[in-house]
């Protein structure tokens, strides 16, 4: 099958956590819920210090169009608002909540959030606006990592024709298995959510793209989608197959225009986790309070896929997965290709946290940087068709004009170039510096 040009094949390391069923450990004693967990405007707190809150109760909201409300993720007492640094370096306000009383935890939590029946009959009769509003009220954002508010995507601008809803089940980032386990264990809410999203945007066709290194997930999804009209596609395993533009190219042969969005080619893309959460929001009225997080890597004693309340600290997550191995050296929010290293384990899980990967010193063995000999490997692997070495060296030289000529803003920072570079030049980091400079100018 045809795939997008470029890309790399890093070892996927998914066997570490791939066989661990989704489990919900006892709720942590305290959660730290950030008031900004999405792309867009931050929320304002709507609760007072020492106020008692219930799981799913609204605690933060914003009037801005591109935003998503946040909810209490445990039953308990709100503590004094404080500040946390998210893995991307952003400082955000957080509401700590002290857990008190009965909690939704253990097998009951998995059953409540992912279990039970997810009927697909009658979904076509639902009002599109009601679906989008349910997504907004539930605080739903893209769970694949980008955390873009889902309700905004589900309300395409007037005059836009969406013909296809693409559901992203690629999970191309190495190590992570949240989407894989979700599709294996709970394909029904994914299918139901996909149909609801398609209804909301008016798409006649639903395509689910799943990399062919997940045969069990593919089979489970095919079984769940049987008779619903939802099409399940096994597609080549290649990083970054799950990047929106690459996935649309692979599945539909359409190229999203530079600087444009999928809706410009008649497509809306949602992640499988988002689809499942949408089904819950619409069919059961449940707010987004929990998510599945893969805690994995050679630096973790027993890698797991954990269904945890948002705001759970990384330190607690790591404890739930048996703790750090003695040779743990780097804690990465997300996977090793696009994830950010964190130095503070009080960092909270947010709606966009797909996993925590702990790498060891042996994983990180890096050679010294050498001169670029223009071998062109970065050009060959760049899935966006850029010339990464020119961009990076232009940034180093302060040649900002050249960064524009070479379309620096088309870079999505997937890391293929830096993965491949024989000279070990920190290409992605240099390109980030260049983008920041252009944005500041």
């Amino acid at each position: 099958m045809r795939s997008f040009p470029g890309g790399v094949h890093p070892p996927d390391a998914k066997t570490l956590s791939g066989d661990a069923p989704i489990e919900a450990p006892p709720a942590p004693a305290q959660v730290r819920v950030p008031l900004l967990q999405h792309t867009g405007a931050a929320c304002e707190s709507v609760v007072k210090v020492r106020q008692q809150v219930m799981l799913g109760e609204l605690i933060g909201r914003s009037e801005a169009p591109v935003s998503a409300p946040v909810h209490a993720t445990v039953n308990g007492k709100v503590l004094k608002e404080t500040v946390a640094t998210l893995p991307n370096g952003r400082h955000v306000a957080v509401l700590p909540i002290q857990a008190e009383g009965e909690q939704l935890e253990g097998p009951a939590a998995v059953e409540e959030i992912l279990g039970g029946e997810w009927p697909t009959d009658g979904l076509d009769a639902r009002e599109p606006e009601a679906i989008a509003e349910a997504a907004r009220a539930a605080g739903l954002v893209g769970l694949g990592g980008a955390a873009f508010p889902t309700h905004f995507k589900l309300r395409p601008p007037a005059g836009t024709r969406i013909d296809t809803l693409v559901v992203n089940g690629c999970e191309c980032e190495p190590y992570l298995t949240t989407d894989q386990r979700l599709m294996e264990e709970a394909p029904a809410p994914v299918v139901a959510g996909a149909m609801l999203a398609a209804r909301a945007v008016g798409a006649a066709r639903v395509l689910v793209g799943i990399e062919d290194n997940k045969p069990v997930a593919l089979a489970a999804m095919r079984a769940a989608a049987d008779g619903t009209g939802v099409e399940i596609r096994g597609i080549p395993t290649k990083y970054p197959q799950g990047a929106e533009k690459q996935l649309i190219l692979t599945l539909l042969g359409r190229r999203v225009p530079g600087g444009g969005l999928p809706l410009h080619v008649g497509v809306v893309v949602v992640n499988v986790g988002t689809a499942a959460a949408l089904a819950r929001a619409v069919l059961r009225g449940g707010a987004l309070t929990h998510r599945v997080v893969t805690v994995t890597g050679a630096g973790i004693e027993s890698p797991k896929n954990l269904l945890v309340p948002l705001g759970t600290r990384y330190a607690d997550l790591i404890e739930m997965a048996g703790g750090l191995a003695p040779d743990a050296a780097r804690v990465v929010a997300g996977g090793p290709m696009m994830g950010f290293a964190v130095g503070d384990l009080t960092t909270p899980v947010t709606k966009g946290t797909t996993g925590v990967t702990v790498l060891t010193a042996a994983d990180l063995a890096r050679e010294r940087e050498t001169a670029c000999v223009r071998c062109g490997r970065c050009v060959d692997v760049c899935p966006m068709g850029l010339v990464p070495t020119r961009l990076a060296l232009a940034v180093r030289a302060g040649a900002w004009d050249a960064t524009r000529r070479y379309s620096i803003h088309a870079c999505m920072e997937c890391g293929c170039c830096a993965w491949e570079c024989p000279a070990r030049i920190p290409l992605v980091q240099l390109i980030r510096v260049g983008k920041a400079h252009r944005n500041a100018a």
Binding site: V8, P174, K245, R255, V256, P257, G258, G260, A315, D316, E319, G323, L324, A328, A329, R330, V331, P336, M337, G339, A341, V342, G343, D344, L345, T346, T357, L359, D363, L364, R368, E369, T370, A371, C372, V373, R374, C375, G376, R377, P383, M384, G385, L386, V387, R390, R404, R405, S407, H409, A410, G415, A418, W419, E420, C421, P422, A423, R424, V428
Partner: protein, 349 residues
């Protein structure tokens, strides 16, 4: 590495370090590994040279390798840089990156068997010093270092580098008693005076050390492309450009003893296409640029062969196209997936 200070009391303070992603890198390749690839790719060429020219080949090659290594050391010292990459940002690895040996090997294989020792030494000094170090070392040079050295001695020592110097009548080694195929063709009255295609393909003809066997170049070159240590588009472009130009030359001058296949097999076209033009530092980055660069070299080689006094044109063709690389790169910036946003396109124009 600084110890992290997690405020969580229930977790021992681990030593965590942070760095930009990606946090894993492919283990396979390094700059040095690519240089080693080139040396391995040159092995069949070297074997052919030794078979044809015996000890002359070994001597010339050893002289160039040793000279290049010594001059690399000397110039690294002069620039105040270490030899094992301990300099600024760790980017100044010099002798250990293997590039001096690649320059030495290519230079040696591009010299005539008969060139006196000082030719090899001067060519090495110019290749490393002027061709590379003067630009700021590996990765910064505009021209292929080996070709800079080769061109320098070709012009400076014309008497010992010219077509006549390849021929030594009465020598024990019968091959070196004959003119090189291209020189023979310049002076030939008819096709009978030049070697057949089969000997030219195998390499049992007179010439510079590495150039005679198209077969050996093909073996090593295809391997190099397969390893992706050379961009296949460049040799493909060279052969295509040379074939097209040679066809024109043959049509323009039907009396010429050289047909298109002769042009492709003769001289150092194959050696140049696979091992000289493919030097990544001095060739374009974009795929379209690589095609243009290769085609340009191919056309220039035939043009020089047909229209100048030199029987062969690879050295100057490569140097000329090297000079055009910044222009080619600028003209062939690839369009990103999905194209350039119209706002940016307007701003750029």
């Amino acid at each position: 590495m600084t110890p992290a200070t997690p405020s969580s009391p229930d977790l021992e303070a681990p030593r965590l370090h942070v760095a930009p992603g990606p946090h894993l890198v492919s283990g396979g390749r390094s700059t040095r590994g690519m240089m080693v690839d080139v040396l391995v790719g040159l092995a069949p060429v070297l074997a052919a040279a030794v078979l044809v020219f015996r000890e002359w080949a070994l001597l010339q090659l050893a002289l160039c390798l040793v000279s290049c290594a010594l001059f690399e050391t000397l110039f690294a010292r002069l620039r105040g840089r270490g030899l094992r990459g301990r300099g600024l940002r760790g980017r100044e690895a010099s002798l250990t990156d293997g590039s001096a040996l690649v320059t030495g090997a290519i230079l040696g294989l591009s010299l005539p068997w008969s060139a006196p020792w000082y030719v090899a030494v001067v060519a090495s000094a110019v290749a490393i010093g002027i061709g590379k170090a003067a630009y700021g070392g590996l990765g910064q040079n505009v021209f292929n270092p080996a070709m800079v050295g080769r061109a320098f001695v070709m012009v400076s020592f014309a008497s010992v580098m010219g077509a006549a110097s390849y021929v030594r009548p009465g020598a024990d080694l019968s091959i070196v008693t004959q003119a090189t195929p291209l020189t023979a063709a310049k002076e030939a009255a008819g096709a009978a005076d030049i070697p057949g295609l089969w000997p030219m393909f195998l390499g049992v003809t007179n010439g510079s050390l590495g150039e005679t066997s198209a077969l050996a170049c093909l073996l090593g070159g295809v391997w190099l492309c397969w390893r992706r240590s050379a961009a296949w588009r460049i040799p493909a472009g060279v052969f295509a450009g040379a074939a097209a130009a040679a066809a024109v030359a043959v049509l323009a001058n039907p009396a010429s003893p050289l047909g298109v296949p002769h042009h492709l097999l003769a001289g150092s076209l194959a050696f140049g296409a696979f091992f000289i033009a493919t030097d990544p530092v001095t060739s374009p980055l974009s795929h379209r640029g690589q095609w243009l660069f290769g085609l340009g070299i191919g056309v220039l080689v035939i043009t020089i062969r047909m229209l100048s006094n030199y029987p062969e044109g690879v050295v100057f063709a490569v140097l000329l196209m090297n000079a055009a690389v910044p222009l080619i790169d600028r003209a062939t910036i690839p369009e990103p997936l999905g194209g350039i946003p119209s706002a940016d396109r307007e701003a750029a124009s």
